[in-house]
């Protein structure tokens, strides 16, 4: 489909193919639900955790495609087609990464996502887009190379031809016989390498730049579902090694990485001057919490997966809203933003509700996993992590709420806010309200199919 779009060079055909792809993706997700744990084409298994994250992606396909049609509508045919072709490729590669049943196949798909994302970040062809793309490709490539070293260390554990595909199933059988030093090195390399995708400390800078420059519908995807790809890669290796003696080491590394991510996110959000960069730091904060949740163990595992799903819906709706905000205010500079409630009430409500949801303030569904993480920290007696996390979260709440309130209700501080707003249909916010509605609903009711899938995803982890 992606190649067809480039070859046919017709906007209407491109629209039809992209919409068709979105529907096909949803159908495929349903198929995966109906065939849970089935292996197809040797390298793909519809595992619980894979299907869970695939479903989150599937929910976003239609909003992303719709917002993409609007965003790219003024582009010439070539740019329009490249955008949609790369979008389809990105969704395909992410799907492959979710369903991969071995380290090597997973690594290949993660590498491939970099290609598609590079084309999408560079969409506007500006100097700043080139810089962001360059940084993204360069740091991701370095990360991918380091992650590959982690994969090679897994290979060293094996050293046998019969296990050359490094599938998770075959690896799990011999992990306990492996040298713990190799496991620790492999985990550290995998964590550093895939944190370029997950947006976690120490490789978080790449995602911040990419999210702030990419077209809003793409920011919505790469700051949620693409981050989930990085999370999945780290989670797979963590699950694999969890039965070995390196479990405490992995937990400590994840908690340190998570805490540092929270610290950096809180610090930079306090001095944020660019709205999209602030949202990108908010993603860093949430991924930091996910890492802490995994490191906590016990209830933290459930909390981590639930948080990942809810963060996907919330953050994507906020980034979709950025598309409309840029057409109304013509800027993302916080000093130049203001009076949004007067100019675009529906968008203001999305921002307000999105802020409540992403800050995990009840009735946000994110309150549940964040409360579970704190509960896990209390249960483990990790008081320092608990107190530090709460203080840092307070900074995040202060930084984000003051800035969003300023955009909605105050006058712009800058002198550049003189451009008249474009006409934006209020109906464009419908998909954002639906996604945020899902997040709020999950504060009160978590459907059994979702709870069961999350529980199946973490059943191999130690309790």
């Amino acid at each position: 489909m992606s190649i067809m779009i480039v070859l046919l060079r017709n906007k209407t055909v491109t629209k039809a193919i992209t919409a068709g792809f979105a529907l096909l993706h949803i159908w495929f997700t349903v198929y995966c639900w109906m065939n849970l744990n089935k292996t197809e084409l040797t390298y793909f298994t519809y595992s619980s955790v894979g299907v869970l994250l695939l479903s989150a992606l599937s929910v976003l396909t239609i909003p992303t495609v719709l917002h993409g049609f609007i965003y790219a509508s003024k582009d010439d045919t070539k740019k329009y087609n490249i955008y949609h072709s790369a979008l389809i490729a990105l969704m395909m590669f992410m799907t492959g990464a979710y369903l991969a049943n071995g380290m090597t196949v997973l690594w290949i798909f993660v590498e491939a996502t970099t290609l598609a994302v590079a084309a999408l970040i560079y969409h506007d062809r500006t100097e700043i887009a080139l810089e962001a793309t360059w940084k993204y490709v360069f740091i991701c490539s370095t990360g991918i190379a380091l992650a590959y070293l982690g994969v090679l260390f897994l290979g060293f554990i094996y050293g046998r031809e019969d296990a050359s595909n490094l599938s998770f199933a075959s690896l799990s059988g011999i992990i306990n016989q492996a040298n713990p030093m190799y496991l620790k090195i492999a985990f550290v390399f995998v964590l550093i390498g895939f944190s370029t995708k997950m947006g976690l400390f120490p490789m978080h800078t790449v995602t911040i730049d990419a999210h702030s420059v990419a077209p809003p519908p793409i920011s919505a995807l790469i700051s949620t579902t693409l981050m989930n790809v990085g999370f999945l890669a780290i989670f797979r290796v963590y699950s694999l090694f969890s039965s070995s003696s390196v479990l405490p080491f992995m937990n400590n590394v994840l908690i340190i990485s998570g805490m540092l991510s929270l610290l950096i996110a809180a610090g930079y959000m306090l001095k944020a001057k660019h709205l999209k960069r602030m949202l990108a730091y908010s993603s860093l904060e949430n991924m930091g919490l996910v890492a802490i949740a995994i490191g906590v163990g016990g209830v933290g595992y459930y909390a981590a997966l639930f948080l990942v799903v809810l963060h996907t819906f919330t953050k994507s709706s906020l980034f979709y809203q950025m598309g409309q905000l840029s057409r109304i205010l013509h800027t993302f500079r916080l000093d130049d933003c203001g009076r949004y409630m007067k100019l675009y009430p529906a968008g203001s409500l999305v921002l307000l509700l999105g802020m409540v949801c992403i800050l995990a303030i009840p009735p946000s569904g994110l309150f549940i996993p964040e409360f579970m993480i704190l509960k896990g920290l209390v249960a483990n007696g990790q008081w320092f992590v608990l107190v530090a996390s709460v203080i840092l979260l307070c900074f995040v709440i202060y930084a984000m709420s003051t800035r969003i309130m300023h955009i909605i209700f105050s006058d712009p501080r800058g002198e550049n806010a003189t451009l008249p707003p474009d006409k934006v249909n209020q109906a464009e916010t419908i998909t954002q309200f639906v996604l945020l509605g899902l997040v709020v609903a999950m504060c009160f009711y978590q459907p059994s199919f979702l709870v069961d899938l999350i529980n199946q995803s973490i059943e191999i982890l130690p309790r």
Partner: protein, 204 residues
């Protein structure tokens, strides 16, 4: 023979630390490509012939010819011939490089494994550390790019160490090479101008 090639490879890494002209970096990358090609030929005796030809051709065409050629063009186009004046001086980098070598020897000995030759582990770790050192201590993006290419070579050596048992891992490493060669050097490297040598537009 392999040991001689590996020692020569280590010497190129030490030379990297001392050199300050970008064209020297480009030539050293090319030389490393030739040495890696030689190591692959002597090491991968159990791999089937077609796979061996593919690996040798890749290391020769990509690592020894295409990548140094593209690097040379980028250097010429950007008009920058030497490393940034604020980069760490070669002398200090050389000392750090020696420390990296010693650390690699100690770490490799702590990781003795029946499946791999320790000398591969030493040299691969040393290559990795050298690449990271170059990225951390230099300022120009072209130096970072060269640091990344050195890390790539570390990955290649690691994969050669278990290449006889797991040839698929070498092929995937080659995929990474192609990815870098085409995308980073061929596309973005050519678009970056001299004044974008320090990327600072995106910051908080």
């Amino acid at each position: 023979m392999i040991n001689y090639l590996i020692v020569l490879f280590a010497i190129t890494l030490i030379y990297f630390a001392a050199a300050e002209r970008l064209i020297i970096y480009s030539r050293l990358i090319g030389m490393q490509g030739v040495l890696l090609c030689g190591i692959a030929v002597f090491e991968l005796r159990e791999v089937n012939t077609a796979n061996l030809i593919f690996i040798v051709a890749e290391s020769l065409l990509f690592k020894a010819i295409l990548i140094p050629y593209l690097l040379g063009r980028i250097i010429k186009k950007s008009g920058v011939t030497k490393v940034h004046s604020l980069a760490m001086p070669g002398f200090y980098l050389l000392i750090l490089s020696i420390f990296a070598l010693l650390s690699s020897v100690i770490l490799a000995n702590a990781l003795i494994n029946p499946f791999i030759n320790t000398i591969y582990m030493v040299i691969a770790l040393f290559t990795l550390f050298t690449g990271l050192l170059l990225i951390v201590t230099h300022r120009l993006i072209i130096s970072h790019l060269i640091g990344f290419l050195i890390i790539e070579n570390a990955v290649f050596i690691f994969s050669l160490a278990i290449g006889n048992e797991m040839p698929m891992l070498i092929n995937i490493g080659i995929l990474l090479d192609l990815f870098v060669g085409v995308l980073i050097l061929g596309f973005f490297g050519m678009r970056l101008k001299a004044h974008t040598n320090e990327l600072t537009m995106l910051k908080d």
